[in-house]
């Protein structure tokens, strides 16, 4: 899963797609998630980070993670063809 190269992520959670002109605001959790995805971390690594830090079971994490990824896909933030794993 790859964030497309036109996406710029600011430290304050502002996400800008320079190809479409769309912009989005993320809260601190969303920002951390997208930063980990942009570093091309595997889902297992991201899950480890989140389940260790928060009172969160694996199933809930996965559900929220894939929902977040679906939103990223919907808004063209991750390449559409690279996301078949959560279609």
């Amino acid at each position: 899963m790859k964030i497309i190269k036109e996406i710029k992520i600011s430290d304050n959670g502002f996400v800008f797609n320079s190809n479409t002109g769309d912009s989005f605001s993320l809260n601190s959790t969303g920002l951390e998630l997208i930063q980990l995805i942009s570093q091309e971390k595997e889902i297992e690594e991201i899950k480890e980070v989140f389940t260790t830090r928060f009172d969160l079971d694996e199933l809930t994490f996965e559900k929220d993670f894939y929902e977040f990824c679906s939103l990223l896909k919907l808004h063209g933030i991750i390449a559409r063809e690279s996301t078949s794993e959560f279609n």
Partner: protein, 348 residues
């Protein structure tokens, strides 16, 4: 380096909620590192805001509408030229372009340089010829039907599903969702802009635009793509942002290469959900948001003036992505004398 002194005549000083490109064009030229510009403002109405803006124009002249005849307009320009010695003339309205294209040689003989599209370029991109244009240059365009009478609405309904865009040949566009709205739009537009009225298939997606400059030899001298972020009720951009869109750039370069476009242009495109681009309009002049291109690193007004003067211009390939413009309105307090002078003397 000493700047070259030039006298520039510009129209389109109507910085209203439907702004002309004159004021941003002048602003770009005033930032030129090569030209020291003395500006002659050409206006049609005595309340065009550019008349009253401080430090914008050295002189202002009212000129007759092109509809009163090309000769009247050109003779007025020649009269102004005798007083002010114009080096470059930049017309900024679609409706006046025909008169200036027709008289390009006549003006040049007197030392007034222009840089305008050819008649063929101007005519083949007209809205009612867009389907042929798309076919000729391999660009997707919405299907359309030229309406000369209300009786053709049945034909329209056979061809398209609602909604449809109903457009005037020069200006105005309405979204119509049923027969009654098509009729209303047809009546409004034909009364103002004549025939044909163009009914265009509605293409759903995001409107994106490109401001570009062609050198007349097939080269793209400048091009900056933009998405409107905020529009007025007339659909005019009130805020916009530059994009990194290689497809739009490729489309622009391909079009300029094939048409050998000469002068400024604005491409209006719809980008669909599936990433296809439909050309909905080509404006044969620089748009009012041109200062965004200047701010993003491409001084298109300066490049256009250089081309008009026969100077070499190197193509500009880069611009800053994510640069925005935000328009605003501003109340100027002006003295009655200025209004009286332009109203009575037709010049300031």
């Amino acid at each position: 380096m000493k700047k070259q002194e030039i006298t520039l005549a510009v129209s389109g000083l109507n910085n209203t909620d439907n702004p002309g490109p004159g004021v941003p064009f002048i602003r770009g030229l005033k930032e030129s590192e090569e030209f020291d510009v003395r500006v002659i403002g050409l206006v049609y109405e005595n309340l065009e805001p550019g008349i009253y803006m401080e430090d914008l124009c050295s002189r202002i002249f009212q000129v007759p509408y092109p509809s009163s005849g090309s000769d009247d307009l050109i003779e007025r320009i020649e009269d102004i030229h005798r007083q002010e010695n114009i080096d470059v003339l930049v017309p900024n309205f679609d409706a006046e372009l025909y008169s200036f294209m027709k008289n390009e040689e006549r003006l040049l003989k007197q030392g007034i340089h222009t840089f305008l599209p050819t008649f063929q370029q101007f005519q083949e991109r007209e809205k009612h010829r867009l389907p042929e244009f798309g076919k000729k240059y391999g660009i997707k365009v919405p299907a359309s039907l030229n309406l000369g009478s209300l009786g053709q609405i049945t034909e329209l309904e056979d061809k398209f599903d609602y909604p449809v865009m109903v457009k005037g040949q020069f200006y105005d566009a309405y979204l119509a969702t049923n027969k009654e709205q098509v009729k209303q739009a047809f009546m409004n537009i034909s009364a103002k802009w004549g025939f044909p009225v163009i009914a265009q298939e509605f293409v759903s997606g995001t409107e994106v635009n490109v401001v570009a400059l062609g050198d007349g030899q097939g080269n793209t001298v400048a091009a900056v793509p933009m998405r409107k972020q905020y529009t007025t009720d007339k659909g005019k951009a009130w805020g916009g942002i530059t994009l990194a869109d290689e497809k739009m750039m490729h489309l622009t370069r391909s079009l300029i290469k094939q048409t050998h476009w000469r002068g400024g242009m604005e491409l209006e495109l719809i980008k669909t959900q599936t990433g296809e681009y439909y050309l909905i309009e080509i404006n044969p002049r620089i748009p009012a948001w041109v200062y965004l291109a200047v701010g993003a690193g491409q001084n298109i007004p300066e490049a256009l003036v250089k081309l008009a003067l026969g100077m070499e211009v190197k193509p500009m390939h880069t611009y800053k992505i994510g640069k925005m413009f935000v328009r605003y309105s501003y109340d100027m307090i002006v003295d009655l004398e200025k209004f009286a002078a332009i109203s009575m003397n037709k010049e300031i």
